[in-house]
């Protein structure tokens, strides 16, 4: 039981990070039909900028805030500089642009920052909490709580504000949204900015646990993408559920089967789910118009 709890805790912690990344994928996909493979770089930028601002003597909370602002600027620049000029291009072309962007951001990070691993001090100390025989680091709770807060805030924003409604309208039908007077270009830019912010927060929260370096983004983007697809692309709830499931699959796979094959276990189960449910867990089927 203690073992089970241990795996559950670590799975949920990692899963929360995947969920946030998947949420970023979903937000941008819904607003613009773009799969943004630079999503993982936002996570890296959040963590690495905080580390280096803190090293430069900026107090930690301010450093975190500045890092988020910086990442938002990067997200905005990505939209304005690379996505917007090619907005009529095919989906594959747009994916290649985001991959080019992620290579660029990674390259810039290794020049501006460095190639070493870095950490941040945990928010609530590093004294492990004992719970039912398993131990839990306070930072794990911070990650989970932070994830939950972001999900709730995002939901409130989308569901309760006029701008949020505009995002929903843009996601549903871009042309119709434009016809009722929504500036869809600005909405898509906003989606990139929010996704960047979510990624940055995830990066800052998880850095004390998993460390960060200039190249952590690729793997995180890959996992976040898989989580979003598992949940069903376009569904925010699906993204969160997909992320948590993926995190737990990895943790239990590593614990009970083989730590070397944990990614294999996770992907085999994702494949099995997709074969049974080709639209993911919560995705809706799209009817092809001929």
């Amino acid at each position: 039981m203690a073992e089970f709890l241990q795996f559950l805790f670590s799975g949920l912690t990692v899963g929360a990070v995947y969920a946030l990344i998947a949420l970023g994928f979903t937000l941008i996909y819904n607003a613009s039909d773009v799969i943004n493979f630079a999503q993982g770089e936002f996570v890296m930028l959040g963590g690495m900028s905080t580390v280096f601002l803190a090293l430069a003597g900026v107090p930690l909370p301010l450093a975190a805030l500045l890092a988020i602002v910086l990442t938002i600027a990067a997200g905005f620049a990505l939209h304005r500089g690379a996505i917007e000029p090619a907005r009529d291009a095919s989906p594959v072309t747009l994916i290649m642009i985001t991959i080019g962007a992620s290579i660029f951001i990674r390259g810039a990070a290794q020049v501006v920052f460095d190639k070493r691993f870095h950490s941040l001090p945990p928010l609530l100390g590093s004294e492990p909490i004992s719970l039912g025989g398993a131990t839990l680091l306070p930072q794990s709770l911070v990650v989970l709580a932070g994830g939950a807060v972001i999900v709730v805030l995002l939901w409130l924003f989308i569901d309760r504000t006029l701008v949020g409604k505009a995002i929903i309208a843009t996601a549903a039908n871009r042309l119709a949204a434009r016809l009722v007077g929504i500036n869809t270009r600005r909405i898509v830019g906003l989606a990139f900015a929010i996704s960047a912010a979510i990624g940055a927060v995830a990066g800052i929260l998880v850095t004390p646990l998993t460390l960060t370096s200039y190249d952590v983004g690729t793997l995180l983007a890959l996992k976040g993408f898989a989580a979003a697809m598992l949940g069903g692309i376009g569904s925010a709830l699906g993204a969160v559920i997909g992320g948590l499931i993926l995190g737990m699959l990895e943790a239990f796979g590593a614990g009970y089967i083989s730590s070397k094959y944990k990614d294999a276990v996770a992907f085999l189960i994702i494949l099995a789910v997709l074969f049974a449910m080709p639209q993911g867990l919560l995705g809706r089927g799209r009817v092809e118009r001929v």
Partner: protein, 314 residues
């Protein structure tokens, strides 16, 4: 139609002539080496282009087949004392079989779901190659014995230049024949609309599977060549970044253009070689160039330039 076919093979003839004349300008063996790599990657890219450009199916895991081909020529001769050329063939057959088995369920998925499923497949191959150290040497990789044909040993970049150029041309001719066959027409119908293709009586699942198997064999042979050429192989050959690189070659050069795959492979093989002088700025430059190409020539280099030329003429 007749003129079109002749025109297409004409492009290949030009490539063939260039391939023969190009070495006259090579000042050193290093140039043979890079050019050989261009043809080898172009071989894999042509296969992937059949799948992506003509059938419209994305694969983010094609480096998995590259890996299977590469390790076939590494493991076969080392552990089973098989002839290398037999292992190239064996790797191709194995890749084709795996593609046949995996493709059946995977190709039912569409769009981004297909992308994540193929990504998962590539990752599985990578994980197995990294972890089964007894067979593969693990993350450090393993040496690959040289290719021997009847006591003639293929070594040296110039030999491999001719082998890879010849194989690429052969593969390109086969690909063009496939495109102009009923299968090719069916694939283009699937690309435009699966439903419409089905209504017209195209066996969508079978045609997609056929092209997936062909593209897997192309990638596998390319993987075998890379392994034999380098003499050493690591699991990175099957990694996610390699898969992305292959997709980038196809998209950059132009989806649905065989010559484009060669151009795309050339750009992505040559760029890192040319950018090494920039040291730390290499990656930034690479990212910028990829973005620039995709923004300004969004259909890919070859179709984009062709369209520009046509506009200029008229």
């Amino acid at each position: 139609m007749r003129a079109l076919i002749e025109h297409r093979l004409g492009a290949l003839l030009v490539i063939g002539v260039i391939a023969v004349l190009l070495p006259l300008t090579f000042p050193s063996a290093y140039y043979y080496r890079v050019a050989a790599l261009v043809f080898i990657f172009a071989l894999a890219a042509v296969g992937l282009n059949l799948l992506m450009g003509f059938a419209g199916q994305v694969s983010l895991g094609h480096a998995g087949f590259l890996g299977i081909g590469a390790y076939a020529v590494a493991i076969g001769p080392t552990h089973f004392e098989l002839a290398s050329w037999l292992c190239v063939v064996g790797g191709g057959v194995l890749s084709g079989l795996i593609a046949f088995v995996v493709g059946r369920p995977v190709l039912q998925l569409k769009g981004h779901y297909l992308a994540v499923a193929t990504l998962g497949f590539g990752l599985l191959v990578f994980i197995v190659l990294s972890n089964e150290a007894g067979w593969t040497g693990g993350p450090d990789g393993m040496p690959v014995p040289r290719l021997e044909l009847f006591s003639w040993r293929a070594r040296g970049p110039d030999t491999w230049y001719w082998i890879s150029a010849a194989t690429f041309l052969l593969a390109a001719v086969l690909a063009l024949n496939l495109i102009d066959s009923p299968t090719g027409r069916a694939l283009r119908a699937i690309h435009d609309s699966e439903v419409a293709a089905r209504v017209l009586g195209v066996d969508v699942a079978r045609q997609k599977l056929a092209v997936f198997v062909v593209s897997a064999i192309y990638a596998s042979v390319a993987g075998s060549y890379i392994a034999l050429f380098n003499g050493h192989i690591t699991p990175d050959i099957a990694g996610f970044l390699r898969s992305i690189e292959l997709v980038a070659m196809v998209v950059l050069g132009g989806m649905g253009s065989i010559a484009g795959s060669l151009v795309g492979a050339a750009v992505l093989v040559l760029l890192p070689q040319m950018l090494t002088g920039l040291h730390d700025y290499e990656q930034m430059m690479l990212g910028l160039i990829i973005m620039g190409f995709m923004i300004f020539l969004r259909q890919g280099i070859v179709p984009g330039l062709t369209a520009a030329r046509d506009r200029w003429r008229s």
